[in-house]
Symmetry: D2
Subunit: 338 residues, 4 copies
């Protein structure tokens, strides 16, 4: 921890900080510059957790030396985390995977039709929502367990692992019985009760970035999951909220290399939410692969005009097919494959 003092900090104030630090087992290293005095606290920063040094008299600014997360950091684990799913799918290696499917699971037959198309074009993981977090209480809220059954069934039929969102800590056990990957949605990124609950399972988790979460906050939420014992976490960039209203969200493509530098966890890009308009999805998907992501999540629907949710950002199967051809070529251009 580094403490920059105000120009007019007194000796008494310096002593007060020093005493506090020493009481906590830290060594205070005082460095007096021409204009400012700086105190470096040497020792485990963790003991300072909760001590608001910035309000101690004479203090201007406090700067932590260590990142607030541990288990998720690249420093803690140098090699990339690889997550093994059913049907020989692994996330985090040379081969990229594309998760695809409808926003909401609607009917068993409808899901089958979409899954068939996706599989044919090269999609390897099936997505579909059974519990839907909706802005309005009057919107369709998902089929619940019925939807989970369809998802499991169709995933097995086509040999695809499955992913679905869980919103309520009371549903975690239920959802684990049906799917391969638990999705934590953007709105629930900091729902700590839910994070603790999925952290106690052995099911892989995909943690979506909150709509206005910093990289640091996002990694701290992953830390919640890992610190409960579940290390199979992938992070999903799905667009952030900015001043721009010309798109639903702003896909933060920088997140891909930043996460790769800070963490060993795999990174997924979701250009459907990252743009919010189907006409922009392919461009965002290509950018995600070129930037170096480990997987994509793309919403596909065979009749978007009648979709129960997110029809506006769903690709038609034929557009998904063309996209997959481009993605394969781009992956190859950067020595990866799809």
């Amino acid at each position: 921890m580094i403490i920059i003092l105000k120009s007019d900090a007194t000796e008494e104030q310096i002593k007060h900080i020093q005493e506090k630090a020493e009481k906590l087992g830290l060594q205070a290293n005082i460095s007096r510059g021409v204009e400012k005095t700086v105190i470096g606290l040497i020792g485990p920063e963790d003991v300072l957790r909760g001590t608001p040094l910035e309000i101690f008299p004479g203090v201007e600014k406090v700067i932590p030396v260590l990142a607030p997360y541990r288990l998720v950091s690249r420093e803690f684990k140098k090699e990339n985390t690889v997550i093994k799913l059913s049907h020989n799918v692994t996330i985090g290696e040379k081969k990229l995977h594309v998760m695809s499917g409808p926003c909401s699971i609607e009917t068993h037959e409808g899901l089958r039709n979409i899954a068939r198309e996706i599989k044919k074009s090269g999609g390897t993981i099936l997505r579909g929502g059974a519990f839907k977090p909706r802005t309005s209480p009057y919107d369709f809220q998902g089929l619940g367990e019925e939807g989970l059954k369809y998802l499991k069934d169709v995933g097995e039929e086509f040999g695809m692992p499955t992913v679905t969102e869980v919103m309520d800590p009371r549903d975690v056990e239920l959802v684990c019985r049906y799917v391969d990957v638990l999705q934590i949605g953007a709105r629930n990124m900091q729902n700590f009760s839910l994070l603790n609950e999925v952290g106690k399972t052995k099911t892989p988790v995909m943690l979506k970035r909150g709509i206005s979460a910093t990289y640091k906050e996002w990694l701290m939420c992953a830390e919640y999951i890992l610190s409960n014992g579940n290390f199979d976490v992938m992070l999903c960039e799905r667009g952030i909220r900015t001043f721009e209203t010309g798109t639903r969200n702003t896909l933060d493509i920088n997140a891909v290399p930043v996460v790769k530098q800070l963490s060993h966890l795999p990174i997924v890009v979701d250009p459907s939410h990252g743009t919010g308009r189907w006409g922009l999805v392919s461009s965002g998907a290509r950018a995600g692969v070129a930037a170096g992501c480990d997987a994509l999540m793309v919403e596909v629907h065979d009749n978007p005009e009648e979709a129960f949710s997110d029809g506006a950002q769903s690709l038609l199967p034929k557009n998904f097919e063309s996209l997959m051809i481009e993605l394969k070529a781009i992956a190859k251009a950067i020595s990866r494959e799809i």
Copy 2:
């Protein structure tokens, strides 16, 4: 619903939209301008919920005519909602109330000491956290039920209704047994399971604005609560996330008059989180009252250096006392009282 068509929309595309509308029981009113054609759909917009008209061929933009919320709107209920708490405290009338107390409940004795000071200066509602949503899994997470007991006890001793945060739908019943007002924190504003759960109780709710929630999204979350039967909801502006890093959050003072225009629900201002630094809290509190809020929430601690959380933004009792004197004068200046 108003639909603006692309310049090159065809007659067939117009017919397709018209048919869809009529199938849903709406009347399509077509208006052909020099450059663009506009279709107005007359009838209940609700039937269009989920139909992504924006992807229908030929459509450029879709504009809803009605607000997406109903029960919370000023149009639904003209007169201000007044919420009655214990000890003759009512929120939403001429008299403003100041909710105050420590961020976290730490000890029974500590809470009593702070409550005594607050009461003396004119604070009328006691706040304190027992379940704490913390960015880091390694931070103090609150005393849980033990803390709730202290809060109830001290509130009764000093004749003050109490408010505390609930984070998990499984805790709602427990928390209701101890406090007068359930706080939904900013991070859980869109935790719809939790909103549904508090909506089923008869305990008043204070819904904090999410860190990057628009007014509309915030009101939609209140709508979740009201639509479950609980109409005693107050909204709390507690600062939003912007590009500015010189303060922890940006207190959006415009929210006060905007909420008053759009909704009948009372509005609370929290300058502690809205600024994040105790040296700015008084200024924000004064601005909140001057702008027309119905209540304030201000964190106070008698030893911020040792506070378990949010020490940096807590006022000392003596500063709270001076602030209350200013606030009373400002309230009077705009024909209200504290």
Copy 3:
């Protein structure tokens, strides 16, 4: 300057940084913690300007100890700057001033009518735009010198100093001949050619905050003006751009106490642009005074429906009159006056 090294920084990398520092006349103070090594550079930070230490091998983060601005800082000058204008108006003392008038100067007679009303209600400075920065090239661009003449004339008739925007460095001399205060608009906050030009005059300057400028960047722009010799600068908070679209801008009320802490320059609040809707202006103006500003800028028009610009956010004279009564009471409540 403080340099935090990566965990795996080598001795050679440390030596490379040390040598660079010493070559520039700085002393490198190396502190080796358990996990990280930190280097403190002691001496004038200015010599490092332009040296990108963050890319030196082994460096994780670089933290400046000193603020990047000097002349504008509270540390440079403890007492508040007071700016003297004509007609015995001074900005930065106990008495607050309200600058008011139409967005655009339209006609001589129209300006007179508005000025008369403002003066009657207690406004003391007359504003009006002659050069208008407009989002569209097809919008009304202002009357130019003709407008400046009206402004000067009407200001003298009613005994009010005047303020108007200057947009082009080539117009600075011209505008100085007519008005008391040069306004730099939000869009031109970082128009450094223009800042240098107004910095060379002796005319007071009101520097509006850029729509997405941090406090630090804003103060750096004031530093441009002061470093050219013109110390009569006031800062104007006029709302920032955020994700919220329910208002035109978000009035950042925190800016008032923050600027007061960091700088000796007076601070003005503009609730007209800070809200963008006349129905919210009074609330923002009251908040500004309560928060501690030194002056307000409020747009007033006697026929907003026909105003050439910003009619939507202009107050009618009768609303301005009621507002002034409230403002006087609030100023008194915090020991100031209007």
Copy 4:
């Protein structure tokens, strides 16, 4: 223009709007729904420019039907604009171009060395700053005309067209004498005097997006240039300001397909400013090409530690070389070439 009325709008208010519209030559089409009345104004929207319909009594919201820009829009001109520069370089066709060079021009010899490396790797346009907009008045401000001479000279030696920033309307003529493309920097995007001045020349312009400019505002600024007669404008996405501080800016990759849809002008991506850290630049450059941009701008320096500016985000020539190999493969994957 579409006007949505308040639920309680009176007949008199409707008539008032109708009369205003008819006076301006528009036809008012009134449509009465169950809850709301909507007025469609048919005729040229331009006559309403400046009339603040939103404050007319009874009005709730006003929605323009037409985009505010004309000349830059895809509707005005269907085919892509192609800009021809010297040395057979054309922007806006199948072949992508990479503009590269140092942030600041420092010495003649230094610029030659960098240009030689860039040319060898496949860069086709030479960039370098002679007039530098710097956050601090104490930073290096550029070599001015001396720098322009070096740029012209080196560009000719290596057969590369050149691009440099112009900041002051008084310098436009001078800069035109030396370079092929005038760059308008992000800070000056809304410097309308400067836009008018470059619009009067015949030199192509690269207009960078302001740090918090919406797509619409950006296009309006291009409209300023085109409306002055200069149609050779390219737009440059260079990162926007968001809440995220882990990168200098957030590269808005969505801007590429959005601009392509809305406008016929070519789009350039600048991953150097879009990320702010050299370790992220390659990822952003690859994403830009994959997303469909027409050109890239990448800062390169052979000794970033000693660069006069932006050393932190400059690539070394050897990294630029590797990047170009990847970019060629990605371009090919989407049927373009570099």
